[in-house]
Every structure is written in C-alpha cells, then in structure tokens.
Symmetry: none
Subunit: 415 residues, 2 copies
C-alpha cells in the first residue's frame, strides 16, 4: 500500500522550520505496512496545492496532508481541498462543539474566525482534534483516501495515533510487518556487521536487517514482512535472540527504546536510585531522563552547576580543586559525582563537566574536552572524551556517552 505526504506551508519553503512531521509520519506508517512514495512540501497557494493533490493521487492510494488549517488568511488548505472535490464547506456540529469547548476552557470569547474553523468540506469525515481547534478531515473518493491534518506537530501526532492509524488499520488490508529492535552501545556499525555476518546471511528474503547508527549507539532493526502474525513474530524473535546472544556485551536494550529508558527500566526493577550533576550538558541529561513517565521512581534530580559557586555550594566541590585543576578536570568531575552521590543520597550518580563551545577553549583544553564520571557507593569511574567544536553536538554526545558509562557500571555492578 503506497502513501504520499504533502506538507503545506511557506514556512517550510523559506527554511524557517524543518519539516519533522514527515519523518515521524513516514515512520508510523511504515510500522503498519504502508510505504511512502513521495513527500512534497508545497506553498500556501491554491493552484500549487491542487496540482500536488493531483500528482500524488496518481502515484499513491493514501494522501496525507498537513498544514494550512489555521484560522488566518494564509491558511487555505480546507477551501482548496473542497474545490479539489468540487464540494461546499459546511459547518460541522462536532467540530464546532470542540472549538467552543476549547475556548470555554481557556475563558476566551469565540470569534467569528474561530467559528469558521468548524467548517469542513461536506464530503469529509471529521477527525476530532483534542489538542486544537482545527479539525482533521478524512475523504474517501475514487478509491483513494485523503487525510488532512494540522501542521502543529503535537496536534498531528495525537490525531495520527488516536484516530488515523487505527482507522487505516481497520479499513485496509495491510500486510503484517513485525519489527524487533536491539539497542547496542559502544561498538561501530561495521564491527557489529562483521560479528553477526553469518546470522545476517542466513535471514530469509522476507526478513530484513537494518543498522541505524547514532551518536555511539547502533540500533539493529529486524523487519519481517508476511501474512500470518504469529509465525512471523516467532521467526523474527528467533533471529533477534541469536543476534542478542552473539553481541551480548554491547546490548543495552532488547526493544526500541533509548538508552536512558533502558537504564530507568533496569534501575526501577532493582529499586535503585539516581542523581546527576551536569555542567556542560546544562540539564540535557536530566531532561532525557525525566521525559519518561515514571522516571521519578528512580530519579531524585540533581544540579545544573554552570558556575563555580553552584559546584561548590550544591555539590561540595572544593574551591581549591576548581582553582588548581579547573572546572573541566578529572578532579572536579570526581568531586562532582561523589558530591551528588553523598548530598543527594542516591545509589548511583553521574557527573559531566566540559567545554561545549563554540568559545571557551584553551590550548590544553580545547572546545569539545569533556570529563565524565559515574559512581555507585562502591566504585567511581572517570573518563575524558574529546569531541568537536559544535555546541549542540557536544551536548548530545556527552549525554549519550555519560548514559553509556552509567549503563556499563550498572551492569558490571549487577554481576
């Protein structure tokens, strides 16, 4: 089953925003056996949208459209789709009561432009928008399905998850696709490939293996395509098990979760607690951890200690350590992690200090120099890493490296 995605909005075409919606949608659709033939970003222009709809409907069975559903003048998607089908716009009761409810909740008066948001082409099935005023719309015309959704990412995402995906699954005969993902850390793609070459060669044609590398981690994804779910699942799992046994020393998770979630799961199961002391990552590690529901069971919190003052006051780093060795040093990282462990009374702690850049480097400590420490009550491990001069990348790489070190310490301690 083929689909196309059309994103509408000048802001994409002038490069003001990166279109992250399409990749997310493509990923979700692939999971249920729908392949994306093309993604097109077009302008808020009637003729252009009409042409894009026509071209897409020649190539695909499902056309997903995002953007241009707001209440302002530059949002013309709805009217254009009505023209495309040669139908009128009519007020939809359900959509109107949703708009009214939202305005009531925020105690705002309902303007005429907002009421207009409840108008939809008369041939559409309304998809409720729980997170905004613009309704989604589903059209089933000439054997093709058209779905129009808002471009605001979280509105589109919940609409996809709650309404669109279930609708597509129930109304179409989709092939069975089974994905099984293994998260590995600390081993390069080509080395992994080498270690499991014989297993990969033995895969039947309907099971594919993909290597998805990112920041010192590689996800191995097995995808099986077939007809009968149970048999396929069993077979995919058997191959996954073989791979897991072979590269057991670098496996961080046997499912498609990020490293911090694997850590949270493990620690929650063992009733262990964690605190952190972040300097150069500036709260990013805490954010990665706390974005997951239930993280408060494991995570006490910690310090974002950008200044000397905070390193001393919250973490108990000695002033002489900072002045003698500097904030970015093995000694400071060690005192930070031990300070977190002691002051915050957690079973494990993690600390990072470094120069994220782009400025602040010296000859001895160039931008990208990072010290990472992880500790349990029994053991402290400290490591120096050197990255490049891109601030954002340095923050992300440091966070992942620190989590990898913590994961290793946890599993070593557990043995």
């Amino acid at each position: 089953m083929l689909a196309e995605i059309i994103t509408i909005g000048d802001e994409i075409l002038i490069g003001q925003i990166v279109d992250t919606n399409s990749a997310w949608m493509a990923h979700e659709l692939n999971n249920i056996g729908i392949s994306i033939k093309q993604i097109s970003s077009v302008s808020d222009d009637r003729e252009h949208i009409l042409t894009a709809l026509e071209e897409a409907s020649k190539r695909a069975d499902i056309i997903l459209i995002t953007g241009g559903l707001g209440p302002t003048k530059d949002d013309i998607t709805k009217k254009t789709i009505a023209d495309y089908f040669g139908v009128k716009l009519v007020e939809n009761k359900e959509a109107l009561s949703n708009v009214q409810e939202i305005f009531k909740r925020y105690n705002r008066p309902l303007l005429e432009v907002n009421r207009l948001q409840a108008q939809v082409p008369e041939n559409c099935e309304v998809i409720l928008n729980k997170n905004g005023t613009a309704p989604g719309m589903l059209f089933n015309e000439h054997g093709k399905i058209y779905i129009s959704m808002p471009g605001v990412p979280h509105e589109m995402m919940y609409m996809m998850e709650d309404e669109v995906i279930p609708k597509l699954k129930s109304s179409l005969k989709l092939p069975v696709i089974i994905h099984k993902t293994i998260l590995t850390v600390g081993e390069g793609e080509s080395f992994l490939a080498d270690r499991i070459a014989d297993i990969e060669d033995s895969l039947p044609a309907y099971i594919k293996l993909a290597y998805l590398p990112k920041l010192g981690q590689v996800r191995l994804r097995l995808s099986g395509y077939g007809e009968t779910e149970e048999a396929l699942k069993r077979e995919v799992n058997e191959f996954a098990q073989k791979i897991i046994e072979r590269v057991a020393n670098v496996v961080a998770a046997e499912e498609d979760i990020p490293i911090e979630k694997a850590i949270l799961n493990y620690m929650a199961e063992k009733d262990l607690t964690l605190s952190v002391a972040e300097s150069c990552t500036g709260g990013y590690i805490s954010h990665l951890i706390t974005q997951h529901p239930g993280s408060s069971k494991v995570f006490f919190g910690g310090a974002v200690s950008y200044s000397y003052e905070l390193k001393e006051r919250i973490l108990g780093v000695k002033n002489e350590t900072l002045t003698k060795f500097g904030a970015v040093s093995e000694e400071t990282a060690t005192e930070m992690v031990e300070g977190a462990l002691h002051n915050f009374k957690s079973d494990y702690a993690l600390a990072v200090t470094g120069i994220a850049g782009p400025d602040g480097g010296t000859i001895d400590k160039p931008v990208g120099t990072v010290w990472i420490a992880v500790a349990s009550v029994n053991k402290t491990v400290v490591k120096k890493l050197t990255f490049g001069n891109k601030r954002k990348q340095n923050i992300e790489r440091t966070a992942i490296a620190a989590l990898n070190m913590l994961n290793t310490l946890l599993h070593d301690s557990g043995k």
Copy 2:
C-alpha cells in the same frame, strides 16, 4: 526566480532521518532572492527520479538535487541524470584527482568503485567537493539550471556556500527578499490577527504576513519581495514597527529567535544573572537556556529537584511546607524560587513544580496542574496553570509559560 529541491533517498521516506538539508538550503536561497516553489523527497528509483526532474523543471528555473551520489549500488542519481539529458558518463580529471587526494590523505587504497565516483555526465560543470569523494554537478540546459549535490549535510553545505551560491548570484538577475520576524507570547493567533487586521489589510501585494504559532507563542513574519533592497527593507520595517507598537504588550523579540534567547540577550546586556529550580520540567528549561552559546554569562545553573529531599536540601523548601501543602502548591513554588534566588545568589530566579503525568494526579490536583514562580530580589510572582495529560507537552508548555513569565517580570522591572 523560482527553485525546487529534490532530495533522493529511501532513508527519508521510511522516516529514518529527518530531512534537515532542505530547510537549510531553502533558507540560504531565500537570502539571495530565490524562492523555493516545492521540496520533493523521492525514492532511489530511476523512473521516480526522472518524473520528479520533469515535474520540477516545469515549475522552476533552478532545480537542486541532493543525495544518491555515493559509491554503492543504491546510489543511482548520477546515471539517472545522464539519462535525463540523454548523455554519457565520462571521467573528469579534476574530480578524479580530488578522489585520489582524499584516499591518499587517509592512507586508503583506491578501489574501482571509488574511481567511478569521478565519472560525471558529459554535459556538466563539475563542482568540487572539498569534504568528500562525490563531485557536485551543475547543468545549464534549455534555460534551466540543475545542480546535483551529495546528501551528506556538511558536504552539501560547504558546496552551497563556497560554490553554488556565488555562482547563482553572479550569473542570475535576482530579486530582493526581506524577512522580518516578531516573536509574541501569550496571545492566540486569531486574537493577534484581530488586533492587527487593519495593518494586515493595508499591506501592499508584495509584502506578506504569516502567523507561525507554537506552544503559546506566535511568530509574525513579514516577507517583502522587490527590486531595491534599501527601500524594501525600510518599508517592511515600517510595517513591522506598526505591528510591534500595536501588540507591544505581547512582543518578546523583534527578531527570529526563541524566547529563552531573547531573555539571555536582554539579561546579558543588563548584566543580570539567572538561576532555576525545576521540578516537573526536569531540566528542560536549563537545557533550553544552555543550548545557546554564551549562556554561561547569565545562567548560574540550578536544581532539578524531583524528590522532596532535594527540594529541601538544595532549595531550602521547608519540610512542613511540603507535608502541609504538597510539592505542587503555591507555597512550595514560592519557597523554591526564593530558595534558588537566595542560595544561588542570582538576580532573578524561576521555579516550576507540577504534575507532568501521565500518572500522579489527584482530584484536587489533576495531571497537568503546574505552579510557576518567578522572582527578582524585589518581587515574586506565582501563577497556577492547568494543562492536559500529555507528559511531553506539559513539560514543553510549562517551560515556555515559565520563560514568558520571567520575560514579563524582567521587562516590568526594567520600566
């Protein structure tokens, strides 16, 4: 002058990577007066690429193509472009010596597949790739310019900056495009539109206004298209000034920057310092702030106080406050922000405590209940907000709301 971007590669269509190249290219091209008509992501498939090239050349004068230039079998862009023009591939001396040089630099033997990378369609002008082995290619055929570049972001970027942009600027008569963006916070899109309706109506046809809403913020973007830069800039700025005056109470920045960057700029200029105490946002506010270079000039850091223990220990929240009113309360938020201000010795502080969800809510305090406090040495402002039950969204909305409150306090204090 109109351009189109075609990105080639299955990894985009299965949602494995987000296409960040297109937004970057679009932004650069807009700056020199080239508008992007459409961005299309297509598969590594000959027929599909040929169709995309044909469709794009009907709409635009310049067609930029990225991806599919690697040495492996699935990279078919070069051969397909040669077919599109009906020409042969020939070895290019310059491209070959570039490949040889790169392999020499890394002490690697030159394989036959690598030598093939120096082959290009005979009608092209080679664009040197200083960062990789695949040459870029420029075609000038039937009054249209086609440019093919690698999909690896940094290879494409250097090629664009060093070669493509200068070539386009010198060989084409380009119009002038001026963008001006205003960041507003705390007022909905439709209310803003209502307040500035007469200004919007008075815009000439060559100046357009777009509303870009996101999480309680709306960016207003004016785009002017013309011939003379100075006059157009003046005119766009005049309209921007009218809008800024009209909605002054919700303007957070008069340029295209996020709210936390606007705060950092303002505080740096006034030599003010900031610390934070985050509970439900779990480090996200700190991360937003510290992702910006130079943030350490303003930001001392703070506490991510998930547990009672940390709220007491680092922030000095009284145990009786926590037990009597709970962690999510006006009293706790107030003690958190005042604790941060006092303990971390910053001029301003910000604190948030809430129930991010999806669990942990009660009848009195449902999921999405958030208390935010901002404070200077002279004034503390505390506010309760109620969001929905999506954790990620609650974290983001709380962060933006807190930054908005801080921004208001800063500007009120500055008066």
